[in-house]
Every structure is written in structure tokens, then in C-alpha cells.
Symmetry: C2
Subunit: 344 residues, 2 copies
């Protein structure tokens, strides 16, 4: 191809024997157009193989028909092992899936943006302001990320997946992580466990803290003031060693809440190597309801984290804001549910 000039509106207009304006009207909306012409124009479109030029359209409408998925992080180079792990983690893909599920039916494009440096963030805000995308779904990965504030200042239609680390007037969608922790506590208590422990995620991750807090408060309500804690890093291996540590220091444990499934899977392995029966001797509750929960043996009882649904909702928030920029900042908090399987 390439040598052949692509048909333009003008070509279609000529083929249909009408004006450019009419063709444009037919293609974009049905109002104010004679149904007969309507038909003729569509035939001409088919005949010429016309495809609208997005750039030209964007130029005049000031709409790109694109939403950006922005991953904001402190990592500047791509070979960084963190970034590598980030992409390999289902977390990323599930969010993409959720975002796509609402974008696709609307014919909106997804542009992926990774910003690691402050400079990149500034440029991104400029580009978005210029209309490169109509809005942004944002994954803010580190605690003192300035991007949410910048987006907000620039008046860009954006929403975060996950609560912003700092108080910024921007829409977001989050999970009631504390309620999830409470769910785990109630379930463990409900099945008769009396000596509970927890394996937490990294201390600097807000979601991780909330899970701990919710778990703690629920236990407190039932008269359990204190319980042993081991901190993990959300990895299989860290879960395994945290469980080993917990067992060594507190041999009497009969129930453990683990802040994510991958660590729980590791914990299960640790328990197994010590010949501890699950859930017989120790009951285990995970968090996320990820594939790791299904792949664990016994299968994990876990707190479901509806990441796809949350990403979808975030996208809806962004789309709504694009349609009506005067919309107020809005946040949606999802309620976690307990998925009971074999481990507790």
C-alpha cells in the first residue's frame, strides 16, 4: 500500500454526490440529515474504504478518544528489577483488564504511560493538558508521589486506583482493607481459633497497614489485646520465612492471617515442611483471592480483592469526568468479601 492515497472525506463526498459537511454529519450523528442521503453516504464510505483520520478529528474537536493508564513510580530506568517484577505481577495485568473492559465497549483507546522521574511527570501533565489523552487512570506507586496533586492542579480528568498516599482532592477507588482484616479475624475467631497471629505486608504500604489495623481492632473487640506479628514483603519467600519465624517464637498458634495470597502460599509451604496440618492445627486466611489462592494446597480461604472491578470503576469515574468536567471529586470504596475454601 502506502503509495495509494487514503480516501478522505472529500473523496467520500464526491462519491456520494454530496458535500464534505454532509458526510461528516452522517458519520458523526444522525441529526439533520435526510435518511436517503444517510444511506447513500454509508454506501460511499464502504465503496471508498474510508476511515476517518483521528488526528484531524482530534485537532478540531479537542478530544483524542483516548484514556491514559499512568503508572507513576520512582523508577527511572526500565531494566530496574522493580519494574520488571511490577509488570510480571498479576496486579498490573488485572488492572489493565479492568480498565479495558469499560474502555473497549465505548471505543475509547488506552495509552500506557510509565513515569519514573519528576521530569517525566511534568511532561506527562503537559501532554495530557495538551490533549494527548482526555483523561487518566492513575496507579500511584510510591508514598510521596506528586502526580495526583499535579493532575489535580492542571484540572485533568483523572482518578486513582487506590487511595492517594497524601490527601489530594482527586477521585479514587479503593478497597476497605481494614474491613477485610476484620473479616479475616471474625472468620478465624468464628471457627474457634484462640491464638492468632498475622503476617503483614511492608510497613510503608498503606493497604498493608489497613489490613493490620482492621484485624487488630476486630480482635480487640473480642478481647484479644495482643497477637504476634511478622512482617513480610508480599513475596512467596517472605511469607515462608515469616511463618517459620512465627512458629519458632509462638508454637501454640492456631490461626494466621496473611496480608496477601502469595505470602500465604509461602506460609502454607512453611507449615507443611514442619508437618503442621492446615486447617487442622493452624488455620490460614489469605488476602486478594488471586490465582495463588487457587494454586495453594490446601486452597486458600481468603479475602477477595476485586481489582478488575475497581479498575473498571475508576475508569468509569474518569469517563464521567471527561463528559462533565464540572463533576465533583468522588470516591468509591469497595467492600471486601471472604472466600471460604480449605485453609480456614
Amino acid at each position: 500500500m502506502s503509495e495509494k492515497r487514503r480516501p478522505t472525506l472529500e473523496d467520500v463526498a464526491e462519491a456520494a454526490g454530496v458535500s464534505r459537511a454532509t458526510v461528516s454529519r452522517v458519520i458523526n450523528r444522525v441529526r439533520n440529515v435526510d435518511p436517503k442521503l444517510h444511506e447513500i453516504v454509508w454506501q460511499a464510505v464502504d465503496a471508498t474504504g474510508y476511515v476517518p483520520n483521528r488526528a484531524a478529528r482530534s485537532l478540531v474537536t479537542r478530544r483524542s478518544g483516548t484514556v491514559a493508564l499512568v503508572v507513576s513510580d520512582a523508577v527511572s530506568h526500565d531494566d530496574d528489577p522493580f519494574m520488571r517484577r511490577f509488570f510480571a505481577d498479576p496486579f498490573f495485568g488485572r488492572i489493565v483488564g479492568g480498565v479495558m473492559s469499560v474502555l473497549r465497549p465505548k471505543g475509547v483507546q488506552l495509552a500506557l504511560q510509565i513515569v519514573g522521574t519528576q521530569e517525566a511527570r511534568t511532561r506527562l501533565v503537559g501532554d495530557l493538558g495538551q490533549g494527548q489523552a482526555d483523561g487518566a487512570v492513575v496507579l500511584s506507586l510510591h508514598p510521596d508521589d506528586t502526580l495526583p496533586q499535579q493532575l489535580c492542579d492542571a484540572g485533568i480528568a483523572a482518578a486513582l486506583v487506590g487511595r492517594p498516599a497524601q490527601p489530594v482532592p482527586i477521585s479514587y477507588v479503593d478497597l476497605a482493607n481494614d474491613a477485610g482484616g476484620a473479616l479475616a479475624a471474625e472468620h478465624l475467631l468464628g471457627r474457634g481459633c484462640t491464638r492468632l497471629g498475622m503476617i503483614t505486608g511492608p510497613a510503608h504500604v498503606p493497604a498493608s497497614q489497613d489490613r493490620l489495623t482492621g484485624f487488630r481492632q476486630a480482635l480487640a473487640r473480642h478481647g484479644h489485646a495482643w497477637f504476634p506479628i511478622a512482617e513480610g514483603g508480599f513475596t512467596y519467600e517472605s511469607g515462608e520465612s515469616a511463618m517459620l519465624a512465627l512458629m519458632a517464637e509462638h508454637p501454640g498458634l492456631d490461626g494466621v492471617f496473611v496480608a496477601n495470597d502469595l505470602m500465604a502460599q509461602g506460609a502454607l509451604m512453611a507449615l507443611r515442611t514442619r508437618d503442621v496440618r492446615v486447617p487442622g492445627d493452624v488455620a490460614v486466611v489469605g488476602f486478594d483471592d488471586s490465582s495463588a489462592a487457587l494454586d495453594a494446597r490446601p486452597q486458600l480461604t481468603t479475602v477477595r480483592h476485586p481489582l478488575e472491578d475497581m479498575a473498571a470503576e475508576t475508569t468509569r469515574l474518569v469517563l464521567a469526568r471527561i463528559d462533565d468536567p464540572s463533576l465533583r471529586v468522588e470516591s468509591v470504596i469497595f467492600d471486601p468479601k471472604l472466600v471460604v475454601r480449605q485453609s480456614a
Copy 2:
């Protein structure tokens, strides 16, 4: 923002006291411009907060500065469980990571496209031809996908991650899966195993077949004409049950090659429940070197599948083709490497 008109080239030109053309020259290349003006113009750019309008630029240059990552599949709706699993699988994310690693340094945007229906494929080809993206990195997920051929016919700069299921003159990057199978065979044989078996992936997946073929041929070279095979579906659970089946029918096995790590992890679990020691009684070799390999106990000896690097190379192929459309179709085959850990 929004009320305030965004500065255009014209504004910068006025601020700098030069013409629009000069500003454009400064911004795009350094040739034919007085260094003094150069300086002045950049100051004006800073002062006005100018950001180029991509749509306007694309309109005239016929370049979008965007590459599409296309996932071509037979699934039309987003809530399809297959799509859900696809996004949650590290496979997708790793490819995105690889693609981004080469796009980002060049300032090229990534647009994600999922096409499930034939209609969507046709529209995609039209959109790409119209310049929505300058090229495409394609993941063709089902055997009789027509997209590669369509892309080829339309003369679009594209390359596949993975060999096309049908012979189409299009660039692609693939892994020598058969060589990987051979690697596994040699290693198992080398450590003294004599009664080998294999757990394959789905029969309709080419990569899966190649792994089997390579394994079989290597064994044949060493005089092993036949070996038991169990087919899995690349999932943890299918690996587990395939291993159980294999053990039941062939109790004497001392080495197993599993076509991916997730199944191998399941196989390990099956072995463990039967109190079979790994690698003592049965040695296990996986495939992919994914996180599952590290998370397995014992850690998996596995064939490394450098997906990120392959995706990056595919992207380079596309970029090269965009720069010079006359370039010949080219394919790159990566050599797999064996990563020796504990399981074999």
C-alpha cells in the same frame, strides 16, 4: 485550566519575536537555525509553557509517534474468563514490560488494542492504515487468526511475538522451543535419569508442541524411543493432576519434563503428597523461568524463556520497519538457556 487557551506555536513565536516556522524548526531540529535564536526560542517556550499539539503535528507529518500492542483473539466480550486469565497471567505483563523498555527511551507511546472479532480486526487494520499508530506489536493468540495476513496485506509495520500459526510473510520473534525441550532432555539424562516422562501443554499450542518435539528428538538420539506423556493445560491444577496420572500409570519414573513452570509447581505438589522426593526420587525440569520457578519448593530447574527480551526485540523490529518501510521481513529466534536450581 480549561478556560485559559493553551499556548500555540504562534504564541511562542510572538513571545520570541520570530516566526512560527522558526519556532517549529527549533523545536524539531537544530539545523538551519541561528544558535542565538535557538536560545531565545527555548526561553519563550518555557515562558509560555508551550506544549506541542500532537494531533496537529500528526496531521501533517502523518506520524503518530505511537506503536500499538495488539492482542488478537477469538474472544469478543471482556468478561470472558479467558481474557480475565490472560491479563492476570504474567505473560501479558512481561510483554508489556519488554515493549515499554524500548519504546520509553525513544519517547514513543504505547496504545493497547484488544481485538476479539473479525469486525474488530478489520477496523483495527483500517485504523492503523489511517495512521492511528505507526506500527504494531502483535500477540496472535489463536491458530487461525487472520490478523497477521491482514496486516501484511495492508502494508503495516508489524511484527509478532511468537511464530505465526500460519505461514505469513511477516516479521516475528520466537523462542527455539524445541531446543528448550532438548536442553531439558539432555539435563535429565545427564544427571542419570533413565525413565523419563513429560507433561505437555495444550496440543493446539505450537510452542507446546515444539517443546515436546525437541524433548522427544533429544531422547531419541540417546536411544529412548518412547516415553509416557500426560497433557496439561498450562495451569497449576492441570500439572498436579497430570503428574498424579503419570505416577499412577508409570510408577518407575525418575525424571519429568513439564512444559511450563506453573504446571511444574503443581507437579511438585503432587509428588509431595505422594511422598516422592525431588530431585532424589524424581527430577523435575520446568519451562519459562517464571516466578513460579522461584516460588516452588524445591526451586525449579527450568528452561528460561526471555519473554521481556523477545518482546523488546519485536518492538525494535517494528520500529526499524517504521523508519524504513522497505526493510525485508525478518525473524529472530532466541536460544533458550537452562537454569539449574534444585528440582533437577
